[in-house]
């Protein structure tokens, strides 16, 4: 199991370490619910150094990315970022990613920790014939996420950048707590916030400075409840190698007017299922629980849990395309009423 650069810092702050994608990371420090609410109401700080980072540069970097990703990378100006996906040859999803344009011919791709090796091999293969160079920077990049309505004001006290001039999905270089950092106004919580790419030797000093300034350390538990409440997919759950993204709420990512790897297969695959959000009347839904429409089993929960804001169990579930309300989720042999919810589950800014 790999230890991130902040392993000792997590222990010092009371982190309960668990294994996630081969890394020892804090599940929580004090309480998942408290950390969740700190992010919704204040500012929470996550160590997400387990995520993968690939540098993609060269004369044909854009042409390559247009081929390898589903979103329109040509829309990205220097200093801007977008959510995207890596389709496979069958039109499924190799991974969902974030793409940052750092310079004219230089991009940074952030990928899921569990998929680093798979993604890199896939991209390497696809890059044949393109004048492009791929470098895996995952081992030498620390990544922190400062998230919440107070993230900007808290960070402003520690940086020379004027954050009021920085919009969602901007990426830029700045000093933070006296260290060089690349900042992006992005995140995975549904809140305003920043992600900070750091050199390994700077990670701990910046982590401590942000906590000192008032951020609440937050673990993987809150990261999952926050993304679920925000209605974001988690790779391996809502998105897989066999998921057609056109059958999901994230179909907007796929730009059909451009050509990309796997496009024809994706367009040719009909949607047998759709992904819905459910709020339970009682109980906590968990991954794998069966979903019913009336008496008929029509699908399954892919992510389930507790929403600290709604104080209810919530779930993302795949159901048969035509399945209609009333929905129920089978919780330990009993059917709990579940109402259809728009995503995100809670109002977010």
């Amino acid at each position: 199991m790999k230890k991130t650069l902040l392993y000792q810092a997590h222990l010092r702050h009371g982190g309960r370490m668990v294994e996630f994608a081969g890394h020892a990371l804090p599940l929580q420090y004090t309480s998942i619910v408290e950390e969740h609410l700190a992010v919704r109401r204040g500012a929470g700080l996550f160590d997400v150094s387990h995520m993968g980072e690939f540098l993609i540069r060269g004369r044909e970097a854009l042409a390559f990315l247009q081929w390898a990703t589903a979103n329109d990378a040509a829309k990205l100006k220097v200093g801007r970022a977008q959510y995207s996906m890596l389709p496979n040859a069958r039109g499924g999803v190799v991974d969902d990613i974030y793409l940052y344009r750092l310079a004219e011919e230089e991009y940074l791709m952030v990928v899921n920790a569990a998929n680093i090796a798979k993604d890199f091999a896939h991209l390497k293969e696809l890059s044949r014939g393109f004048a492009v160079e791929l470098t895996d920077l995952s081992e030498e990049t620390a990544l922190l996420a400062l998230q919440g309505p107070k993230a900007a004001s808290l960070l402003q006290g520690l940086t020379d950048a004027d954050l009021s001039q920085r919009k969602k999905n901007d990426v830029f270089s700045a000093r933070v707590a006296g260290r060089s950092a690349r900042l992006a106004r992005t995140g995975y919580t549904g809140e305003d916030g920043f992600e900070l790419f750091l050199a390994p030797e700077d990670a701990e000093a910046v982590f401590e400075a942000l906590l000192e300034a008032g951020a609440t350390p937050a673990g993987l538990g809150a990261r999952d409840t926050l993304r679920l409440e925000a209605g974001f997919p988690l790779y391996g759950h809502e998105l897989t190698d066999d998921t057609n993204p056109l059958c999901t709420p994230w179909a907007w990512v796929v730009k059909k007017e451009k050509d990309f790897h796997g496009k024809e297969a994706m367009l040719a695959t009909p949607c047998a299922e759709r992904l819905i959000g459910l709020v339970l009347e009682v109980g906590i839904p968990r991954e794998g629980y069966r979903v019913y429409s009336g008496d008929r089993a029509v699908g399954r929960v892919t992510s389930g849990g507790y929403s600290p804001l709604l104080e209810r169990g919530i779930a993302l579930a795949y159901v048969e395309k035509e399945a209609q309300e009333p929905f129920f989720v089978e919780v330990r042999g009993r059917k709990a009423g579940a109402s259809l919810s728009p995503l995100p589950f809670v109002p977010l800014k």
């Binding site: 599940l27 929580q28 309480s31 998942i32 619910v33 408290e34 538990g221 409840t225 009682v282 109980g283 906590i284 968990r286 849990g305 507790y306 104080e311 169990g313 330990r332």
Partner: protein
């Protein structure tokens, strides 16, 4: 971890407190701490006959669901309905307000088969 000496324990981290001819049941401080934020409790029906070791209630934290087993055989005579609205009582006061159900045992003498505080302490130490 707090382990009061006035009651009995199971290896599965329930406590059992004799009160007259009934036994109050809850989970230990260690168990609530390991579970984390308790957000839902599925209570048994009053009147249900249960066997020792039978799953009687379910405590759900944010991350997981955990069965609560009957420490003795008998009949469920009361449940802590306060947990329906405030399941976090289990975190806040696991040995008091966070009790889960009350059993009238077939034989109160069967409590002697359970662990005492020192025995439960050893279980925790062996679990590391």
């Amino acid at each position: 971890m707090d382990i009061p000496k006035d009651r009995f324990y199971t290896k599965t981290h329930e406590w059992a407190l004799p009160e007259g001819d009934t036994v109050l049941v809850g989970i230990t401080d260690y168990a609530q701490d390991a579970l984390g934020d308790v957000v839902y409790v599925e209570l048994p029906e009053v009147g249900r006959k249960v066997e020792k070791g039978e799953a009687v209630a379910v405590v759900e934290s944010v991350k997981t669901a955990s069965d609560i087993y009957a420490p003795v055989s008998g009949e469920v005579v009361e449940v802590n309905t306060a947990l329906e609205k405030t399941p976090e009582l289990i975190n806040q006061d696991p040995y008091g307000e966070g009790w889960i159900f009350r059993i009238r045992p077939l034989d109160i003498g069967h409590l002697d088969d359970l662990l005492d505080a020192a025995g439960y302490q050893e279980v925790l130490e062996s679990e590391g």
